[in-house]
């Protein structure tokens, strides 16, 4: 299936690692150019080198040091990417991590930081790419919204709260931007084998002296497929949503969670 992504330009904050980097790899394979950012220069440099080697073309990868919680850094990143590539077609927002805490141990400042990254950072990034997308009368935005949005738990208070806000923002912006042909959708991952999950599994293997299969079982026992998903499996769904093959899809959410989500209409 031709996704029509050749020559498109994607901005992927958080594209230096994990889900974001996997999305970059997939978009590069489809012929797009990518702009990534991270707080640390060495993370940006390492990811740019890796992605450039994959693309085989230094002209399609751009890295920039920016913190998505910094109100000045975000528009500066977008404008640097626009200057470099001359357009912005796609934004895939995957910045921010998963944070577990309960009402007893969650400090307000930690919740604030989580919201700053995943809600205010997401909002700022979308505002920053809008002028280019409106001028082109075409834009494709995908927010990666962890499944804690739909599955709150006592120990996932920060992610549950934050991700639900992201889901509401995704739908509201989809309504607001549709007539300008800017599509906004969410992809909801759960049980994807990120670097974070791999680290946790490795720790479990060491701590309990068990094999990988046993150690990872604790992570996927609640999903239907009984395995972790790969980063590539998440990236494939993102690539479909930002493609020319999904031009009538907006305000939608797709779960990539091995069947974990329990709501029949979701």
């Amino acid at each position: 299936m031709d996704l029509g992504l050749g020559g498109r330009v994607a901005i992927v904050p958080g594209g230096t690692r994990g889900l974001g980097k996997a999305v970059c790899r997939r978009l590069l394979q489809e012929g797009a150019a990518v702009a990534i950012c991270s707080r640390k220069q060495e993370h940006v440099d390492a990811a740019v080198a890796e992605l450039t080697a994959l693309a085989g073309d230094a002209g399609r990868v751009f890295g920039h040091v920016a913190d998505v919680t910094d109100p000045e850094a975000v528009p500066a990143f977008a404008s640097a990417a626009h200057q470099r590539f001359g357009r912005i077609d796609i934004l895939v927002f995957s910045a921010g991590t998963h944070r577990r805490a309960t009402v007893y141990d969650l400090k307000p400042e930690d919740l604030q930081h989580h919201l700053d990254e995943k809600v205010f950072g997401n909002f700022a990034m979308i505002r920053a790419v809008l002028p280019a997308m409106r001028a082109q009368k075409d834009g494709r935005i995908v927010n990666i919204v962890g499944q804690a949005a739909r599955h709150p738990h006592s120990d996932r208070l920060p992610s549950g709260t934050t991700n639900a806000a992201q889901a509401a923002m995704t739908k509201s912006l989809a309504d607001a931007l549709a007539r300008q042909n800017i599509r906004v959708n969410a992809v909801c991952p759960q049980y994807i084998e990120t670097e974070l999950a791999s680290t946790l599994i490795a720790k479990e293997m060491r701590d309990r002296g068990v094999d990988r299969e046993t150690a990872s079982a604790g992570f996927w026992r609640a999903n239907v497929l009984k395995r972790m998903g790969t980063l590539e499996e998440l990236a494939d769904t993102v690539a479909f949503l930002v493609s020319d093959r999904a031009t009538f899809i907006t305000g939608s959410t797709i779960s990539v969670d091995g069947g974990y989500h329990r709501y029949p209409f979701g």
Partner: protein, 262 residues
């Protein structure tokens, strides 16, 4: 993006026109072999001819999906013709408009028979064959009335909500066999169904579809109709190797129409 659909065998119910035919054509384009079914011989033959003209390996079978014996023979004929079955797309069935007072129970019964009971039997008949491959896809086209109920879509709302419950429950059952069950939810797609459809009641009677768009467009963020090919793209993606961690979920292809965020 390589979907990995070459040589797969696909059965599309109601594949002789509109969305179903578009789905069949896209699978042909991806190198799959496709069986379609319909109730009318002339339309079925025309659809199969179109699929073969596109260079495809296609076959058509007469079947009423609301007749359980037909469903059984449809699956058996497909496997006899192509030797296996990998992907089932349940697309048959239409939209039933009207209030509870407009629709005698027999009309609802017929609607449920086509879109719920027939699909139940389709799954029962297809499962042994999908299991042989140790992988498989079962995709149900569920009209958006399932998520957006309303006074004059009550029959479709009841029926399509049942389809959603079926998809989710079946996906739980078949995960262990690596058979993935999902839905694609269309609304506002151009098809023979919408050629004669009057949206938003009498206010738009006699007006062109374009004219009607301006009416319901107020409720649909993208403000235009989608094409059958938009549905087909979501279906072939869902059926592909690129969607191997998706089960028990659905994709809205509706221009932003449905209102739920979770």
């Amino acid at each position: 993006m390589d979907l990995g659909l070459q040589e797969k065998v696909v059965l599309v119910t109601g594949g002789t026109s509109g969305i179903g035919l578009a789905i069949a054509q896209r699978f042909i384009g991806e190198g799959a072999a496709v069986a379609v079914c319909g109730r009318d011989r002339t339309r079925l033959d025309a659809a199969v001819r179109a699929l073969r003209d596109a260079g495809g390996n296609a076959e058509g079978f007469i079947a009423h999906v609301d007749r359980m014996a037909d469903v059984k023979s449809l699956v058996a004929s497909t496997v006899a013709r192509f030797g296996r079955l990998d992907i089932v797309v349940s697309n048959a069935g239409t939209h039933l408009k009207g209030s509870v007072e407009d629709l005698p129970v027999e009309r609802l019964e017929q609607h449920l028979r086509t879109k719920v009971l027939g699909v139940w039997e389709l799954a029962r008949q297809a499962l042994p064959h999908l299991r042989k491959q140790k992988s498989g896809r079962f995709i149900v086209i569920v009209g958006q009335a399932g998520k957006v109920p309303g006074a004059n879509v009550i029959a479709s709302a009841v029926t399509n909500a049942a389809q959603h419950a079926f998809v989710k429950s079946l996906s739980d059952y078949l995960g262990k066999d690596n058979i993935l069950v999902n839905a694609v939810c269309p609304s506002r797609i151009k098809s023979p169904l919408t050629d004669t459809l009057n949206l938003d009641g009498e206010r738009y009677l006699g007006l062109s579809l374009e004219h009607q768009e301006s009416g319901w467009g107020l409720k649909v963020p993208l403000g235009r109709f989608g094409e059958p090919d938009d549905i087909a793209s979501a279906v072939v993606f869902m059926a592909s190797e690129r969607a191997s961690f998706l089960t028990g979920t659905n994709i809205d292809v509706d221009g932003g129409y449905q209102r739920m965020i979770f």
